[in-house]
């Protein structure tokens, strides 16, 4: 991330997931786009509220799995037929039923690794630094028991004073400014 200065966004803290979702839905309805919610456990409704409906993890997994399947099956065929042909109990060199098990295992291996690392990559993780960690109340709550809505300064609607007033209308516990 390029070094930036100034305000990253405004962070409103809520006590319950319900309050967060209502605030996020309203903000989206009012035209906010550059925003995110932070919760200590998955809250699907909050993702829906900010308009995040689909993700690419299944596609990445599918591609990974198919690559694993193809890689292992072709490797087996190449080894058993071309590179190192062996007569095992008179069976044909291209004895594909015997090749199913390793190909199956590699489908799962590659699909699983793609799901896990694809998810991390799409999330932009690992990212050991993030401006939100500068907020005084974020680390105490976001991974334990509080629910946060962040309006980011990159949103064209963002104006520090107006946005602060707007967030306060949702009656959060607090609204703090987050610096880069």
């Amino acid at each position: 991330m390029p070094a930036r200065e100034g305000t990253y966004g405004l962070l409103a803290e809520f006590d319950t997931p319900g309050d967060l979702i209502r605030a996020a839905q309203q903000a989206r309805k009012d035209g906010w786009r550059r925003m995110d919610c932070y919760t200590p456990y998955p809250v699907e409704e909050a993702a829906e509220a900010i308009g995040f409906h689909r993700n690419e993890v299944p596609l990445v997994t599918l591609i990974g799995g198919l690559m694993g399947l193809a890689a292992m099956f072709l490797l087996e065929v190449w080894i058993s037929v071309l590179a190192y042909p062996l007569n095992i109990a008179g069976r044909p060199l291209y004895s594909w039923p015997a090749f199913i098990v390793p190909a199956y295992e590699w489908t799962i291996l590659w699909a699983g690794l793609s799901a896990a690392f694809g998810m991390l990559a799409l999330n932009g993780l690992p990212a050991l630094y993030h401006p939100l960690f500068n907020a005084p109340n974020f680390r105490d709550g976001a991974t334990t028991d509080k629910f946060f809505l962040c309006l980011e300064a990159l949103d064209p609607k963002f104006d520090l004073i107006e946005a602060k007033k707007y967030l306060e209308s949702f009656q959060p516990i607090s609204v703090v400014e987050v610096e880069y």
Binding site: V57, I79, I108, L125, T143
Partner: protein, 475 residues
Amino acid sequence: MTPSELKRDPELERRIDPATGEYRVIAPGQTFKSVTEKIVRIVLTPTTPLGWFALFSVAGAAATGLLVAVTWLFLVGVGIWGITQPVAWGFAIINFVWWIGIGHAGTLISAILLLFKQSWRNSINRFAEAMTIFAVVCAGMFPLIHVGRPWLAYWMFPYPNTMTVWPQFRSPLLWDVFAVSTYATISVVFWYIGMVPDFGTMRDRADSKLAQYFYGLMSLGWRGSVRHWARYETASLLLAGLATPLVLSVHTVISFDFAVAVLPGWHTTIFPPYFVAGAIYSGFAMVLTLAIPLRKFYHLEGLVTERHIDNMGKVMLATGFIVAYGYGMEVFMAWYSASHWEAFMMWNRMFGPMGWAYWVLVTCNLAIPLTTLWSRKLRTSMAYMFFISIVVNTGMWFERFVIIVTSLYRDFLPSAWGTYRATKWDYLTFVGTLGLFTALFLLFVRFLPMIPMSEIRMMLPGAKITPKATTKAGD
């Protein structure tokens, strides 16, 4: 269904959910904060309980025994074990199958029960998965040290080499290499990905700089964005969906090692399902062996409740009956196949010189658990369930002993018959893996969050989304 005899005791009544009449999954009165504190404080405490050190030194001593046994093995060779002709697969393969089987319950709990939306599994999922990984560590070692020249074990992998030799893909033993290595990798990945958000919590709750750095690195900078959570949930679900056929395939492939051979007692088509059911049976027993002392020692009765123990008892009952069906079918086929060799194998297994092992397995796997696990009272009695878990683990070890040794030592030609006797090195290696497993598990309990906090939070009453309060309208 409201059990009337349980209703009378007010202490019990508090722990029973009136909606279902079952024990509650989580004891009442827990909040996000209390659950987090409870789990985090087990790890982020400056004082380690003395009991932990005591157990760790015992387990560490046993693990040192393993080191000694393996060192001697590498110096001298597999001749120090009891394996011989015709029993060329002794303790090493028995222990391999036993340990891998134990691992299966962890994956079943973390993957299959997730797909079936069995949310009660959330509290026990993390340490069951840890159990899987440590069991696979112990299991994976045995084939490696059994190959005779373990420093050449990498020859089993297909890689270009100066000998221009490639592996033989028509052998189940090679399938095993891929099944077990995939299983180990996916289990570790699934386990670690599951812990990432909890590492975030640990990072934020840690007081010491060292812990903040350690858990900060492990958490990969997790900050709980709902976009991240959405992808995370998808990935978890996909990993569960992938781990489910994987876990079923692993013990299936292991059973092929036997079933593909022509030996009476091995050459049966029932082996794959029977092995998988047996694996889950012994695995749940091991989860109980770990969970019952753990919840007592760390006072986790509010998170690992009677409901969990009860449900695990039910799963054991069901898988135990599948195992019983497998035993029954083996006996039936010995008669129905009209094969002289099969009939002799069964007779020899029951009444031959090692017949006692068969009766130990029948007692431990069928007679004791399958008659008593019907009782809800016994299923929720911690002392009894701990006892049952030890009994079933013993029984399942003997099942593998019976399958391997009693099939091999008297096969077709009486002139080729032999016997099998394990040596002190066999025993030292086996006890050593028990020590290694326990030591790894103790380290896990001490340094990692043993109960998944984020998944527990989802089940708390606070996670319920309350309808809109009119006075709190957005404007």
